[in-house]
Symmetry: D2
Subunit: 326 residues, 4 copies
Amino acid sequence: MERPIKHIGLLTSGGDAPGMNAAIRAVVCACEHYNISVTGIKAGYQGLINGWFTSLDSHSLIHSLCRGGTLLKSARCQAFRTQEGRAQAWQNLQQSGIDALVVIGGDGSLTGAALLEQEYPVAVIGIPATIDNDIFGTDACIGYDTATNTVVEAIDKIHDTAASHNRLFFIEVMGRNSGFIALNAGIAAGCSAILVPEHYQPVDDIIERFASCDMAGDAGIVIVAEGHQNGGIAELASITARRLPDFDIRVSILGHIQRGGSPSCADRVLAGRLGVYAIEQLRRGESGTMVALQHQLVCSLPLHDVIQQQPALQTEQLRVSRILAM
Amino acid sequence: MERPIKHIGLLTSGGDAPGMNAAIRAVVCACEHYNISVTGIKAGYQGLINGWFTSLDSHSLIHSLCRGGTLLKSARCQAFRTQEGRAQAWQNLQQSGIDALVVIGGDGSLTGAALLEQEYPVAVIGIPATIDNDIFGTDACIGYDTATNTVVEAIDKIHDTAASHNRLFFIEVMGRNSGFIALNAGIAAGCSAILVPEHYQPVDDIIERFASCDMAGDAGIVIVAEGHQNGGIAELASITARRLPDFDIRVSILGHIQRGGSPSCADRVLAGRLGVYAIEQLRRGESGTMVALQHQLVCSLPLHDVIQQQPALQTEQLRVSRILAM
Amino acid sequence: MERPIKHIGLLTSGGDAPGMNAAIRAVVCACEHYNISVTGIKAGYQGLINGWFTSLDSHSLIHSLCRGGTLLKSARCQAFRTQEGRAQAWQNLQQSGIDALVVIGGDGSLTGAALLEQEYPVAVIGIPATIDNDIFGTDACIGYDTATNTVVEAIDKIHDTAASHNRLFFIEVMGRNSGFIALNAGIAAGCSAILVPEHYQPVDDIIERFASCDMAGDAGIVIVAEGHQNGGIAELASITARRLPDFDIRVSILGHIQRGGSPSCADRVLAGRLGVYAIEQLRRGESGTMVALQHQLVCSLPLHDVIQQQPALQTEQLRVSRILAM
Amino acid sequence: MERPIKHIGLLTSGGDAPGMNAAIRAVVCACEHYNISVTGIKAGYQGLINGWFTSLDSHSLIHSLCRGGTLLKSARCQAFRTQEGRAQAWQNLQQSGIDALVVIGGDGSLTGAALLEQEYPVAVIGIPATIDNDIFGTDACIGYDTATNTVVEAIDKIHDTAASHNRLFFIEVMGRNSGFIALNAGIAAGCSAILVPEHYQPVDDIIERFASCDMAGDAGIVIVAEGHQNGGIAELASITARRLPDFDIRVSILGHIQRGGSPSCADRVLAGRLGVYAIEQLRRGESGTMVALQHQLVCSLPLHDVIQQQPALQTEQLRVSRILAM
């Protein structure tokens, strides 16, 4: 029997990711298709607590498909971690007649979603969106594919100048405690070394490798995940500089350009599929789950399983990265 | 027991696809890693028959990572379909001491690879690369992801001008008999209708949908796979124009821009993984197979199974496309 | 003495061009800066006749800076060419208390602006915006720089695939009767031949050049302005194919992707400068002029001089193009 | 009377800039056109002193047209600042029979060129190439247009995430002591404030402006030229953070991505025109000059005038930037 969902609330939370707007549009289109009302909640859980509600028009949303960021805005919210905050949130949902909440965001956002669903009689479903790709249970998170393309394009540019000057660059990329961006962009951009949080490499090993190779003929690029275990990137570069005085070494922190930009085709399609499936699962009476992509198929799994595990890098990809770094 | 592969030949064949250069580099790096000689064969099977052999230097290949096309050049070759052609190819391989052949290409190229392997005692392995994504047994072909991004970027541009003039565009995209590009790019770009070869939609249905909607406020884009069953795109547009005289209708054939461009991160990573795995499987004594990606993992499967089946569009994605086309 | 302009109307007309939104924003920001009211007029002169007026908010316009097309929409309008149409337009301007009109558009749009200014006591100023760059009196038109970048990126992509197959491509680009896009993009993309309307080259000359060169080693690209004098591009290609049977020849019509896309830095800066200057000149009491860029400086000149002349290609650039096509 | 130039040497020097490869190709094509031999000199003046000479093939150069950096590599060279260094350089030129030198680079590189020309009987001509655009006497330097596009694209991406979180970003861009990149990219990207070395703005003024505006509704971006006079960007941000505790402030240093990337159409055309003109002026017997673009026309002017002056920002553009920052 299908649960008679009549009115959903929709928010984006945590760090923004390209494709969030595509997910918003997909949720709104699916709601229209199934005759469900939809209310946008601005600035994530903060807006849920403060009652920053807004209407969403599927027609105008097409112009946001190609935009990064989130038109509903996002925020990190301390208050929602408290019982009082969630109580206020629940009250606002009740008052607006919202009987289901769709949360688009990362790990922390899904944890909040799980708590709300546990404590109050509201259906909650999560859609994984984070450039870090660090959510368990889905083959891909919305925004990750775009971020890796942004990183590869940036490194291609830096490679132009590095090769013109035979320089060694240390480039820091995002990813929090995960090495997905660094590993994949590092393979794609032909980096000479890849430092990820999941696998510690002593600096000595990296330096030794460079010392033994002939840099006279070309450039080198070391991609460093922000969560790596070798200290700050500046320190890493200066240790290397002391040990390899003949190398011309530079540091680049790619920073927030990694969050923005027009979402890739894959991210928009993922957002479209997960957004529609979230509404379809809510109609089937499901709650407390996250929609996901597994083996190219949409599926859903319990939020509690999702938030208590971390996805792991594939050892095969790590091996490949070392072979290609030759 | 590992087969003592000592010298491989490498060629790209059929339509070129972005990421072929990344696959070439991966094969060469893996060969260096495993102490295998590698000979490049120019212009596909034609070069194999004509003996257009060349050396490949892993060091210089890094500059090709970010380039579309194939530095080994490609061609379609009638002669290789004949027994005489393949006999000549085999003779050239023998003379050069090549004991295994790696073929990077699409369906037709893999068919040729299977024939050669059947007829002569040479190890052969295929790597799937085609923007059409129409190879059975792999979740993705090299070049497809880049092509969909190119198409989405092109439609985003056309959408700018379409929206400024409230126009209805018919846009033809590549894909031969497959609708992968059209379906995925169509979802991503928010197209109003998607015509794929796999699912016939009478023109009347499409026109009826437009007739009932209010075009005064916005633009519409119909994405049409080249293999669709509604006749030429120009005819389609002119039928629509006759039936909807108030609409300002335009046609655009995206053409060969879809083949080129810097490969996406996903295509380069896929190329890197499959290129390395191809060499590793040859070393394990495998032959007559294609390396592939299934469920995010590299694997291999018999060429004969691959070339006798066609991958199918997911019905879930077709359903999603209709909901998002609202 | 400054004319007391209190309320301006703003419209975009003719073919849309990237940077029109940046010009709209600049006009609105300048109006706010100088305490002038501003009314947006939708769909060009059609909206002026039909009274499709709308308010414009400078705050929200920042999100349009990076978008192609025009948020005010555009149209070509037959009615405005009639006395009745312009009379209706003037009546609408009067009723809304608009005492000056800013017209963003190309040659035809500026001609309409000149007529209105001549017939009715309303101040009118033009801002040149067209990808064709065919407006006399300004070093650059808004949208042209972006369009040339779009064309060069497209040809770079096609070059990837052309070089992989040793093909000869005929690529048609926009520009109406002007060769600016073809000449500049052709130089930038390293084209083998450039056909522009301003300089007729017999097909025989082009074919002879290709016949004498060795195509076996590489690709060739002929860029053809849509207004060239050698017949349709398909005919051109088929004549060449008959005469050079060994060449693998393809045709690509770039089409409407050339109109859209995020405007380049140069186009946005040009739009910003001209938009502000238009308002400043209206405040100085000027009317019947077009703002322009000459020798890197903003200036203005009579609309009548502008619309009766055509800018010419530089012979130096034509000579350079032939040297670089070697 | 034309000077019988028979053999030129060609080098790129100083910081690399997108379009240097296009300039190299143009010089080589012009040399072939006029039957002049050409020798490439690697790594700038260092290679001139060390005799790192190489041949250049016009045919293969077409593949470098779309690449950033310089295939001749570049370097900054202390030795060339000494008499001994230049004496060695001259000796190498003599030995190779090179009777003219073409130097592609920035201010420092042109200063070196002027010195060599003064001291030894070798013809020398300069081509201005630097992303900083800080060379007197030319309307544009090769690489500058591309760099501004790269910066604007990066800020567009950051704007996506800034707007999603209502953040205030301080973004540092290159330009040494010049504000060209910051001013133009700042106008184009709709920045809220622009800090350039040429015009000191007290931090208090900037902070006051932000304090008075309502940030609740949107994001703000301050673009800061690396040579600005307000201390490090981190310090600037932290002062602002102390004074505006309610603002969520972030810092981003764009870094070396600004140097690379595929050159824009305008940069490639500029490189093509200046490269050809340099050879034509050498043939006319000219020496000790820099080729340049003035008022859309190619021209040349004495190196000594060029290296003793600095180009200035236009006050009109500064005024426009403040109006658009509203």
